[in-house]
């Protein structure tokens, strides 16, 4: 009897479970469909933007040898960019917005806002115009006008200003006065400053840069203002170092107005570091004024030391010691060790014992951080004794860096001791094959080609990731062609094409980039083959969206 009751209860539960499924599904059906439509639209718009980028990049690579192909790709790119806001797409966006408004959660609304901005984006048109300036001025002008119209109709002020700035920076090449009027009309001070900087770079007119400074000074938030003014100062320094220095000091003072002491120190350190790249001593003066808080001064002091080690070794060494002290203050052990490893790499050329002492502070297990410093020390030694350097290179913990260093040592050894060079190349190849690693491209290609073209192609064909494999094979093909091994080059290209076909949809931009590279490289060798690569690239780009 008990068993009967148990089975009855079980059947009832099962029946309830089966009955609930379709009901729930039908209840959720309407919102799910709406969501799916919005997601599909989002994916389609993103893919169309990527297609514009891919076609413009392909056109840029095709333009020198095949301008007619470039024009064709740019036409396609323009059509795609226009389709982002065609009436049908706008209608879909409107419907999606209405559906989102009916929903109570914020998530679909956020997605709709993104869709709306994707369809209103004018930068794809600016990109087409920029690419067309070289091959088709008419098309460039058309794209610019369309872009301007679209940007001006964008209700989002930030996105509108961003697009107007991009358009102004393209327009400045052919219509500077109009571009200036456009830049002056940008509302956001930060974006206006960027537009003026871009224009100044094109026109080389000091008044354009002065406009950028004026816009920087109007930025309400002192931290953002300081960073923007730093960029303007960097540009000004190239033209007029005195003016640049003055602007850097203004940026430093502006960063000093930030209320939070931590952020103030971080921003001032950034300004000092940017200056140190151009003028180490002036950067050092600013770096010394930064609040010494938890290693904040490390970055500017490191840059100053790097620059000074080459020009003023004594002062450079003193600043390096200060940078070491700052590095020790960094609170996170990863950052502390990263900083010490970087300093050791810089010291490797001038003071090996000091570099070793710094490296000893790092645990041996952190081979990834130690690798650059170890490589720098080995390569510094190679100038004196390649054989000793080759022995020392075996101790580099990071396999990828070790192989790269050994390949470079082989390059150095080849003219002095060819047997040793070949031995090192052989070691590199066997180790790479044993590790099954993705190979550090060019360095190993030299190793392969020096030994045996056939082995080289086979090993390159074994690289596991299709993008990396195709990239390696393309470089190898060019190298083999230059060495007169034409059959090997053809075979390598064939394998590269096979690898490109295996690249997945998410990496289509890489696919187009690689085919474009192949087309550009081969345009001077075999025009017909190059055209084929470009055509394949265009096909891949069309698959986007």
């Amino acid at each position: 009897m008990r068993r009967l009751i148990f089975y009855l209860v079980l059947c009832a539960l099962l029946a309830a479970g089966c009955g609930e499924g379709p009901q729930t599904a039908s209840r959720d059906k309407a919102p799910d469909l709406a969501r799916e439509r919005s997601s599909a639209l989002l994916v389609s718009l993103k893919a169309r933007q990527s297609r514009v980028v891919a076609l413009c990049q392909l056109a840029a690579k095709a333009a020198p040898a095949f301008p007619e192909l470039a024009r064709e790709y740019l036409d396609l790119a323009l059509n795609t960019a226009q389709s982002l806001a065609d009436p049908q797409t706008r209608d879909q966006v409107e419907k999606a917005s209405q559906r989102a408004l009916a929903q109570k959660t914020d998530e679909p609304k956020h997605e709709i806002a993104e869709i709306d901005q994707l369809s209103r984006a004018a930068w794809p048109l600016a990109l087409v115009a920029r690419s067309a300036l070289v091959v088709n001025l008419e098309l460039a002008a058309k794209a610019l006008e369309l872009g301007l119209e679209r940007a001006r109709s964008n209700p989002d002020p930030q996105a509108r200003d961003r697009d107007l700035a991009e358009i102004a920076m393209v327009m400045g090449r052919s219509q500077a006065p109009r571009a200036r009027r456009l830049a002056a009309g940008i509302i956001s001070d930060q974006i206006r400053a960027r537009a003026w900087r871009g224009l100044a770079e094109l026109t080389r007119q000091p008044q354009d840069l002065s406009e950028a400074v004026r816009a920087d000074q109007l930025i309400a938030e002192p931290g953002t203002g300081a960073l923007s003014l730093t960029q303007t100062a960097r540009q000004a320094y190239d033209w007029n170092p005195e003016q640049g220095l003055r602007l850097f000091r203004q940026a430093f003072a502006m960063a000093g107005k930030v209320a939070s002491s931590k952020r103030r120190a971080l921003l001032q350190a950034e300004v000092a570091e940017a200056l140190a790249r151009l003028d180490a001593k002036a950067g050092f003066d600013l770096a010394r004024k930064v609040d010494p808080e938890q290693g904040v001064r490390f970055k500017p002091l490191h840059t100053v030391a790097k620059v000074l080690l080459a020009s003023d070794p004594i002062l450079g060494r003193q600043v390096m010691d200060a940078a070491i002290r700052e590095a020790q203050k960094l609170p996170l052990s990863y950052e502390r060790h990263r900083a010490l490893a970087g300093l050791a790499a810089d010291l490797a050329l001038t003071d090996q014992p000091a570099a070793m002492a710094l490296l000893e502070q790092l645990p041996g297990s952190e081979y990834l951080l130690r690798a650059d410093a170890e490589a720098a020390m080995v390569l510094a030694q190679a100038a004196k004794n390649v054989k000793l350097a080759a022995v020392a290179a075996q101790a580099i913990g990071d396999g990828y860096v070790r192989l790269g260093v050994l390949a470079r040592l082989a390059d150095i050894a080849m003219p002095i001791d060819p047997a040793m060079g070949r031995g090192l190349y052989r070691q590199v190849l066997s180790e790479a094959a044993r590790m099954g690693t993705i190979l550090p491209g060019r360095a190993l290609i030299r190793a392969w080609a020096a030994l045996d073209a056939e082995t080289a192609i086979r090993l390159a064909g074994d690289v596991s990731q299709p993008v990396a494999r195709a990239q390696t094979l393309v470089i190898l093909a060019k190298f083999l062609h230059e060495s007169g091994k034409k059959a090997g080059a053809e075979w390598s290209l064939q394998l590269a094409l096979e690898a490109i076909k295996m690249i997945n949809v998410q990496e289509t931009l890489d696919k187009v980039r690689l085919l474009g590279d192949m087309g550009r490289e081969w345009s001077v060798i075999k025009a017909g083959q190059a055209r084929r690569y470009f055509a394949l690239g265009a096909e891949a780009a069309k698959d986007l969206g």
Partner: protein, 207 residues
């Protein structure tokens, strides 16, 4: 510190919500050559300082690189620590080296979009979690479990041993009363004399 950094990264991420995904949207002029690689944005100072940038792409790259590289370093240290304790981890070590190599190749790739960059570095991190960190944790848990099982086993064996001893003592035949035993050994007379208070030296002489 980790919590503070997470909160900082999270808030920075929120600030980027409305920014365009493709770098070309804002840097069309500078990215024409396609030469900006992830490696050019590698760590060069405290991550908090480096994320004081006007470009959301740079901020995202710095954060992603920080998270990925620090995880690689932490895991390599953890593996070495385990190996020093005598645990054999050859497979995990090889896996970590392969993922480190992949990290190096990612650094050579050009930067195209925020989502692409996050996807490649995030993918690497999830592989690190799946192929190295999770097995390492499982191994750590298994070792802890093993030591607990060992402790319990030792305690159990101790208890069993003690119980066996007690049981054996109980099993041994009850000892006969002393007089009976002495009578069987032919020494009862000596006892009786001793109890009657005879001098000891005499007793000794008898034996």
């Amino acid at each position: 510190m980790a919590i503070v950094l997470s909160a900082f990264f999270f808030s920075a991420g929120l600030a980027q919500a409305s920014d365009p995904d493709l770098c070309l949207a804002c840097h069309g002029r500078k990215l024409e050559s396609g030469r900006v690689t992830l490696g050019s944005l590698a760590w060069s100072g405290p991550v908090e300082e480096e994320t004081q940038s006007l470009c959301p792409g740079v901020i995202r790259a710095k954060q992603e690189l920080f998270l990925t590289e620090s995880r690689l370093v932490r895991l390599s240290a953890a593996l070495v620590e385990q190996q020093a304790r005598g645990v054999r981890l050859k497979d995990l070590s090889a896996e970590l080296h392969l993922l480190s190599d992949r990290y190096h190749t990612l650094l050579n790739q050009p930067v195209v979009s925020l989502s692409g960059m996050s996807a490649s570095l995030g993918g690497l991190r999830s592989e690190l979690d799946r192929k190295v960190q999770a097995p390492l944790w499982r191994l750590g848990r298994a070792r802890t479990r093993l030591s607990w099982v060992g402790t319990i086993l030792v305690l159990f064996l101790g208890l069993v041993f003690a119980a066996l001893l007690g049981w054996r003592r109980r099993l041994s035949p009850p000892q006969e009363p002393l007089p009976l035993r002495l009578a069987r050994e032919g020494r009862l007379g000596w006892l009786m004399e001793r109890e009657a208070g005879q001098p000891e030296d005499e007793g000794e002489g008898r034996t």
